[in-house]
Symmetry: D2
Subunit: 339 residues, 4 copies
């Protein structure tokens, strides 16, 4: 359910579907083979090919849920999953099938909403991209160009730096062989963000983006620009000096990732998002039988994603798009163009 | 203005003041000598020594603002500050004195609100702490004990690991001599958080905390638990296995920092917050004269904080307390005790 | 989509359906013969017969929409309907079929949500009722008893005062014969509301209820207690004096309708809601052709509701229930009972 | 605290004060002689004579509060006041001095906020007015003209129909002599509201306005247009037919009060607000001693307002202005003009 989209935006189910397809598991060794078709249906808010100004309700049916294994997890909660705290939080009444509201599947809704946000942003020239910059020990090694980012969906690991793809594939292959999983890093970019977008304090671009990204299962850390390195740096190394370039103000470096004081400064927005390794692995892990309060173990048998990063690329793009479009609408940037 | 505090909590101006005093600049070489007394006055919401259930309005007068330097920054925006995007955002009408809404002084309000949150949390046994774990290249080296955290305000760098204090002081001294500044890391902890606190998706403990922390000027990155290292780790290394300890469920490790799926799991909540080095340094930095669009430079002459971390310790504690108390109130934990 | 319902409430589709059936048009001369079956399907938030704590999504499919007449209304807007302002508001992009978001059909969602609210309120003994107290010139003449209110759905005009039913039916019959419609008054009651429920100022019980009721198409006025008469009365006539009755505090009169300063005082909550006569009538009404800006006329040919009141009875009940349950949840009254 | 006002609006303390002065009690027999000077001070959000885009904090000090009588009301709650439910709601911890949050004094804040809203609306030509149309049995008898509304503050009863003033004064004089009070009706108007302003359902102009007006102490009923009479009318009498007037669409009648489906239709917005007679009268009223649970009585001795209406005129104007400006800002109407 997407509220706040103005009337008159041309949008089709196919456009939303194209974004959802980017999130689908790949038919490769790296990804889960659970069937997740994610067919979207727009049931309200779009009429004659345009948004109506009413809330846009999109439905993605869950077609393949085998609830049996999840029943076990009510007694033997899976480490690294929300099974145990959810039992406490909802007194055992929560819908545990497929992991319920704590499943990664909920991110399909972010991607569907993100499709609309991207379309709105395109009206004012803002573009968002993301790619996988690290899988286990394999790193991208450099920043990708905009052109490389545009081709990110051409390789299965979704890394926009071509020379790094092979090493990442190697890491994934090894992890699958060991029955283990790997952490990953996804980096998101927004280009052509006008300066002065955002709000101070509780609704800064960074605050809003952080809140949204931490709603994505598996996100454990994030930074803007070179934020992860900030504690080790000096002011003279970190500060982004202003210069004039082709009659516009810009900065020499972009260590701040495009945002200061919650406001955009006109340089590309740049965010790094650290994903944990998936908790479902083919190795024995210790847990507790909640009925007997005795120690026990679990070991996954099916096939699961060995890494979150590749599937999270369209999600990070969507989070960026949703935050930017929200502020752009509030500040009247898009309304002026849509009419 | 603190809304949502239930009636009947005993609280005094002195208690709030004691928290604010933790944020005051120290009379040392490390910190700014601008006079910031931060005297708090509670003007509504507390009556006969107890909260009334009405919004609590606390006023901290700004006693020492010399607005002259800030007028220059409207023409020559300071790199690393919000001067430039604020001019765009507010069409030049914003109140630039003292840095306005983008100044670090706004965090005094978080600390005042945090004082009330901590008092409420104490009713259910939850305790929050923070300390500086890194300044430049000097690191704490290990996790502090709870007892060490309780004594964190005894040393000027607010590092709870005693053997690391000297090196941090050395880093600061050197930075001050060079007219430079340093980045820092603050780590926050919440103990005795009951399992099942929080909400999934957009109002997870982690989402709410991230949004609040990114509202603090200078925060550039954050993680829960070992989040910064997550991309390099395997699932078998990262997953927190469940065990029984004294008839309660707990985990062997706490890599998740106490939160999964937005919900607490009963282990200590642990967050790391990376602060940028302050942008105001006694070195020349390039900027642009907005009137003439010509290159120019700025160089600070007064005395400013060379590092954010030490003063940010009570702020990180307050952010933790505010998020936890919000969920604890919503879930009825505190109401039951207060009556 | 109902958010905020705690986990563990037993609820079934049949219970929600039973409430929706109260809103269905009657197979009589008085009501529209458009087919509106309003079959509800709960698609999330309920599992194993209990609420899960997740948002409850209920779908009521719109089975019988002939969009053709509504296309004409884009050029010749119907007086008394939202056709004209909606064209301006949404730039012509809104979904006009069946009246879209401005149709009375949207109130089915309030009734579905109200079914859950009523069930939650029943846990703490609160009961809500409503009945039609006026249709055109026919009035109920007196307040109904609680027993009479419980039997309100037994007669087609939904008036709980048996001796007034015939006159109301007569008014309706005459209006139908004339091709005209009639205004009506619905009165709502809540019994066993504990004192001290609500909030002052912007979220008083009365403020919240007024906002919700004015969202119902056709509502044009409302009052609490004897509010409609208040301007003509003296303080000595209006003030509700406190007395002790069976060791509890109550009032002699209930002119305030149970609410003072946004808070309940423990007497029955009583609201009167005035509905306009439906604008669709079998008489010619003047309008403007928006293309040519020339005067033209419209005249309804199909069959429509001659009066809103009878179908609005479950809607007013639902609005009362939704407001009360919201405050009861916030104040922890229901959580304590549900566990 | 007014949030959401864009930067760049010229506004001064004097302009806000001029609005507050309209709410001051008159030096006549009709009104309270408690000293209420209501001096406003703008402490943030305005700089160099213009709004900054930051929240506007205005302080109105409470200079004359004698808390002693209110202490008694904790044991013997005043009928018709919120004393009793507030004791229950806040467990006896609320600040009862001067009636606290339930006092009519809180409406000064609405008038201060309304001053800013009126100024913003003036940028797009929207004007709001109100007047007293009924005091006890004395009625205005007809609608006032716009010119008459502009002169409403020239007579002490704030009735814009000159020939009705004397009878209203007579009613008030008689009530004061009897030690009694009178109910009243205030009617509010907004002119030049463009069509298509508002939102459907929960944030219609009417829903928002009703919520705000019911936050005003003493409001017991309200309607749009001829809403109070709607139950007695036929569709053919109530429907507002569209006609063309000077190339613009308008209606023959304005029974809907300018709002259909939550949206403005371009005709004047018209609301009627019924105020109860004040509960404080110089006659004995029954109450209960909460300590002993025994019957007792109260009788006011000081001087109080015998009627709410005259002082409520600027409050109703402010509520109209606040709701309209909120939607006008959201729909980008004002932003376009302010730049």
């Amino acid at each position: 359910m997407v509220d706040g989209c103005p009337a008159g935006l041309p949008i089709s189910e196919d456009e939303v579907q194209a974004e959802l397809d980017k999130r689908r598991p790949l038919s490769t060794t790296y990804s889960t083979t659970r069937k997740e078709r994610d067919r979207v249906r727009i049931v309200s808010g779009v009429f004659n090919g345009h948004t109506t100004g009413a809330p846009i309700c999109m439905v993605i049916a869950n077609e393949d849920v085998d609830s049996r294994p999840y029943e076990d997890f009510r007694v033997k909660p899976r480490p690294g999953h929300a099974d145990y705290p959810a039992i406490i939080r909802y007194g055992g009444f929560h819908d545990y099938r497929g992991g319920g509201r704590f499943s990664g599947r909920i991110t399909a809704t972010l991607v569907a909403a993100g499709a609309i946000a991207k379309k709105l942003l395109s009206l004012v020239g803002v573009e968002v991209y993301a790619h996988v910059s690290q899988i286990g020990r394999a790193m991208a090694g450099r920043e990708p160009s905009v052109d490389e980012l545009r081709r990110v969906y051409e390789n299965p690991v979704r890394c926009a730096v071509p020379e790094a793809v092979e090493a990442m594939e190697g890491e994934l292959r090894k992890a699958v062989e060991e029955g283990d999983s790997l952490g990953s890093m996804v980096e998101g970019y927004a280009f052509n963000v006008p300066p002065g977008l955002g709000d101070p304090m509780f609704h800064g671009l960074d605050s809003d983006l952080a809140a949204l990204l931490f709603a994505v299962p598996g996100v454990r850390a994030l930074c803007l620009g070179r934020g992860f390195e900030a504690p080790s740096l000096k002011g003279s190394e970190f500060v982004d000096e202003y210069v004039v370039d082709r009659e516009r103000i810009t900065t020499v470096t972009n260590n701040c990732g495009g945002v200061i004081g919650g406001l955009s400064i006109g340089t590309p927005m740049h965010v790094r998002v650290a994903f944990r390794p998936p908790s479902t692995i083919r190795k024995e892990v210790r847990t507790v039988n909640l009925m007997t309060m005795e120690a026990t173990t679990l070991k996954a048998t099916g096939r699961y994603d060995p890494c979150i990063g590749p599937r999270a690329v369209p999600i990070v793009e969507s989070c960026l798009a949703l935050v930017l479009v929200d502020h752009a609408l509030n500040q009247g940037l898009i309304g002026a163009v849509l009419k």
